[in-house]
Symmetry: C2
Subunit: 316 residues, 2 copies
């Protein structure tokens, strides 16, 4: 099992952005303390870095411009985002989208034929999630012989500076229910999306770690792809929530690890007893606060504070 | 099986309203041809009548005022609607609601304590389904130790004069997903709601028939309650849709029957072969166009035209 332990070589990191590096908001958002310095140190350590985001409120160019203004040393090539992936999919399948997305994302679809739509593309449209716009998307879908709904992510909610906001996943569920269709998700947690990010990172999944604040879309999705993953305690993380998620790790590793503050503490537990999940059951842990792995923590983060797994069990 | 056949005595009818008696709309809506006359004939026939509606865009008083203006001879006492049922539930359980409902429904909750909310009540809020209002309801729910979401119905969509509109069920699904909760549905298809309507009708379920345009909320809900039910082909009915629903009829009766036009044709098939449902399977029918039952058709409707069952099978 040594080859799949947390101590195995780490050559690259995928980083979620909103809730990990900064809290977004109408005012452009604010950096999370220590995060810009962390990005600098990750890069200085020689680790490869790719931002793996479900951000769909801006083009990648504008998104990077905003991050740079907040003090992050990142480039467009270091960002993997859903809209370009969706454009590839639309082209491959000859789909002409009706867009229900944020105004600032529309330029990403400039080259795509949008006449006589035969599918709906749903992003985090924010203020564009009006009653009228949702009815319009619904009517187009229900009028199609075979409705095609493409969703740029399926997040439940995210944190902005003025509070939690419903994410695209909630609206996706509304349209799925109304039209009796299943959306195709482009973005996290789709396996193909993580594979694109890894290809851009240039590192195989077993040598990469995903860090995010969403236990399903970041941690779960990365694990499905053969990566290790960490959950930070900023962003949408809320104490007391217990999530169920089905990882496919394949060896005795934590399903997910909480980190108190994203960058001032990283503690990784080794789970010694795996059991099938039962309601209310929590993971059994060996060791306690302070037990760390090699790899990540020694390279770039200060291991202090405490952490706990949040997974609700998996089969051995 | 004679006792549970379609030919058994019918003493009362529950009627859905939107899509059956009229198509609603911002302009007040328009009656469906023949429907006002049908209501008049139902009453003249001696059958009892109760409107069983998930209407939550107006108080019952205003709803009845609108229907009377459209030519329907109905009274407030003849309307069973979700808001009064929700108020009873709130009082019984000491719940203080945050309301996300249509402005015109708010007076129904005048007597209810709404300070320091410990639940969210969701109705067909229409234009009040704004991004800001949905986020507000979401934040209240996610902030509760045990989120309580009460939904006035769970319809997918309905038809207004200017087209199909998303119904409360779609927004219920969005909040359910975001908050990882299950809504409590007040209104159709809840069994307690149909039981209230039957109590007001003064007729036991086996002597009542529900008529509606929604195969799940009208037909399925009524069947769960031991009633027979018919689906009209007006309102949200769309040709070519095949629904799966789990009736609990308990004897060899059609799960549901389409009627071409609500009031000019009623044809009831007798299903002779019941099989467990398999994907793609449709009902097998004995006889064809024109085979009618006694009871209903002879009492109040003209049996002409054709109909077909839409159920996808049930166990014998």
């Amino acid at each position: 099992m040594a080859g799949c332990g947390w101590a195995r070589a780490v050559r690259g990191l995928l980083l979620d952005v909103s809730g990990v590096l900064y809290d977004s908001g109408a005012d452009g958002g604010v950096p999370i303390a220590g995060s810009a310095e962390a990005v600098r140190r990750i890069k200085a350590s020689g680790l490869k870095l790719q931002l793996c985001t479900n951000e769909t409120q801006a083009t990648r160019e504008n998104f990077v411009r905003k991050l740079r203004a907040l003090g992050f040393d990142v480039s467009v090539a270091e960002v993997t985002a859903p809209a370009p992936a969706a454009c590839r999919l639309l082209r491959e399948r000859g789909l002409r989208p009706h867009l229900l997305v944020h105004d600032d994302l529309v330029p990403e679809f400039a080259e795509v034929d949008k006449t006589n739509p035969n599918c709906v593309v749903l992003g985090d449209a924010a203020e564009n999630f009006t009653y009228a716009n949702l009815n319009e998307a619904f009517r187009l879908l229900i009028g199609m012989e075979k409705p095609v709904l493409i969703s740029l992510g399926k997040g439940r909610y995210y944190k902005e500076t003025d509070g939690l906001k419903l994410d695209v996943g909630a609206y996706m569920k509304a349209l799925e229910y109304a039209c009796d269709v299943q959306a195709e998700v482009v973005g996290k947690p789709a396996k193909t999306f993580f594979e694109s990010a890894l290809a851009e990172l240039g590192v195989p999944p077993e040598q990469a770690i995903m860090i995010g604040d969403d236990i399903v879309n970041d941690v779960g999705g990365a694990q499905q792809c053969g990566m290790r993953a960490l959950q930070v305690r900023t962003g949408k993380y809320r104490q007391g929530i217990r999530w169920i998620y089905g990882g496919a790790v394949g060896c005795s590793e934590p399903l997910g690890v909480h980190v108190r503050g994203p960058w001032d503490a990283l503690v990784i537990f080794t789970v010694t007893t795996w059991r099938p999940w039962e309601p209310g059951m929590q993971m059994e842990l060996r060791g306690g606060t302070g037990q760390t792995s090699a790899g990540v923590t020694q390279n770039l983060l200060l291991p202090r504070g405490s952490a706990e797994t949040v997974g609700r069990g998996m089969r051995n």
